[in-house]
Amino acid sequence: MEFYSLQDFYVHCKGITYLVMGAILVFAPLYWGFLTDREDD
């Protein structure tokens, strides 16, 4: 991907970072559920 200004570059990087952080927010409770789902057994 080519960038023509610093603005472009930061918009791209931050955009991807927000997507990653969103994915982490979704994944974290799911993983916690996976870790603890046998605790009641």
Binding site: F9, H12, C13, K14, I16, T17, L19, V20, M21, I24, F27, A28, Y31, W32, F34, L35, T36, D37, R38
Partner: protein
């Protein structure tokens, strides 16, 4: 004073049960390593760096910093993690793990300071940054001050065991009352210097490979120290079970499985979080394209092979209540931490230099590090076989 010295001497030379004599395989191997270490120490302090190390102007920090200091501090994090778990979060089922963890942390930090004497040019000036000439704008000053303070805190946290052993009840009771304050101080100081050790490398953005260099380095070092500490508690617990089983009382034996599984669960979750922030680091610096290079492959080996895989093994251990999985994952994680610290301080550091100018530790440097680790193991064993570390002292059962 004479009485105190006489009591300490009597206790130190008290005969231990079971008595297997001096020439056990452990004693012989440890003795040989300590003799070689003593020779290397003499060489280091009489002949200088050039004789014992491969350090040069391009690589002034070698394995004594990468292993003895960075790995030593990270792996000693079990002290603050376990005491915070027990005394701050109130999870009293981890109580039996606190003393062994504090002892490991205390010895770890003491040996870090000991190893630092080998690595600095003028070790007799090691106290200067704290007492004589404070460089308050330097991260090294902050690390030095924190390590100095935290070592004092750890010594105080460990001292009730020694005081119980020596029979100094009043002094022991005074120190025990400070437990919460010391735990809070320990967590604060650990947060500061664990992260600052990572921040040290932020001064060299052009020397450290972009996949390891990040403005989040302090966060990476701090978060990774948490699961490093938990893994070390599991690892040393399994060693204690194997070799010091006769020194463990029923409470320790009953609680140990819960400690292993509890820390497995926590380590697994924190490790996944660590992978998450590593990916955030890649994204914010737009370093994705490096992943397809040789360095990228090595980075993936570290992250997938030594963080993701042990994290999943910890998860499997907790879900299946499988202690073997947990112990294997703990060793795997410890190796991963060592690999990460080596990558940051040596392997990915000065990555642009031609091969003949890259650093590789000399045999004598490695020998000195092995000597220091062996010294730690010998002192740990000495203390555990005498003091109430793996068992409660009969006079203080209520504690």
């Amino acid at each position: 004073m004479k009485e105190i010295i006489a009591r300490i001497t009597d206790k130190v030379f008290e005969k231990q049960e079971p008595d297997q004599g001096c020439f056990t395989p452990f004693n012989i191997v440890a003795g040989i390593i300590l003799i070689i270490g003593a020779i290397l120490t003499v060489l280091r302090f009489t002949m200088g760096f050039e004789t014992v190390t491969n350090l040069d102007n391009n690589n002034p920090w070698g394995i004594w910093i990468g292993f003895d200091l960075l790995c030593g501090v990270a792996l000693a994090a079990g002290g603050y993690v376990t005491s915070a778990t027990c005394y701050i979060f109130g999870l009293k089922r981890f109580h039996s793990a606190v003393r062994p963890a504090i002892l490991t942390a205390f010895l770890g930090y003491a040996l870090v300071v000991f190893a630092l004497h080998y690595d600095v040019g003028r070790p007799w000036r090691l106290t200067y940054p704290v007492f004589y000439s404070q460089g308050t704008s330097s991260l090294l000053f902050e690390v030095g001050l924190c390590v100095f303070l935290y070592l004092s805190v750890l010594f105080t946290e460990y001292s009730p065991a020694a005081l119980e052993w020596l029979g100094f009840k009043r002094a022991r009771n005074i120190v025990v009352r400070l437990t919460i304050a010391l735990t809070i101080l320990g967590v604060v100081l650990s947060t500061l210097h664990q992260s600052s050790l990572g921040a040290l490398f932020m001064i060299a953005p052009s020397k450290l490979h972009p996949l390891w260099y990040s403005t989040y380095l302090p966060v990476y070092f701090f978060i990774s120290s948490m699961f490093a500490g938990m893994s070390m508690v599991i690892f040393e617990g399994s060693l204690a079970h194997k070799y010091l089983h006769h020194k463990m009382d029923q409470t320790h034996l009953d609680e140990s499985d819960g400690v292993v599984l509890g820390f497995s669960k926590a380590a697994s979750f924190v490790m996944m979080g660590y992978i998450g922030i590593k990916v955030v680091g890649l994204a914010i610096d737009n370093n994705w394209h490096y992943l397809t290079t040789g360095w990228g492959l090595w980075f993936l080996v570290e992250i997938l092979g030594f963080v993701l895989c042990p994290a999943l093994l910890f998860a499997a251990a907790y879900r299946e209540k499988n202690l073997k999985f947990a112990r294997a994952a703990a060793i795997w994680t410890v190796l991963g931490i060592v690999l990460n610290r080596f990558n940051v301080s040596m392997i990915a550091f000065n990555y642009h230099l031609p091969a003949d100018q890259r650093y590789f530790p000399s045999l004598m440097e490695i020998g000195t590090s092995v000597f220091i680790v062996t010294l730690g193991v010998v002192i740990y064993r000495f203390i555990c076989t005498r003091m109430p570390i793996l068992h409660e002292h009969p006079d203080y059962k209520a504690h």
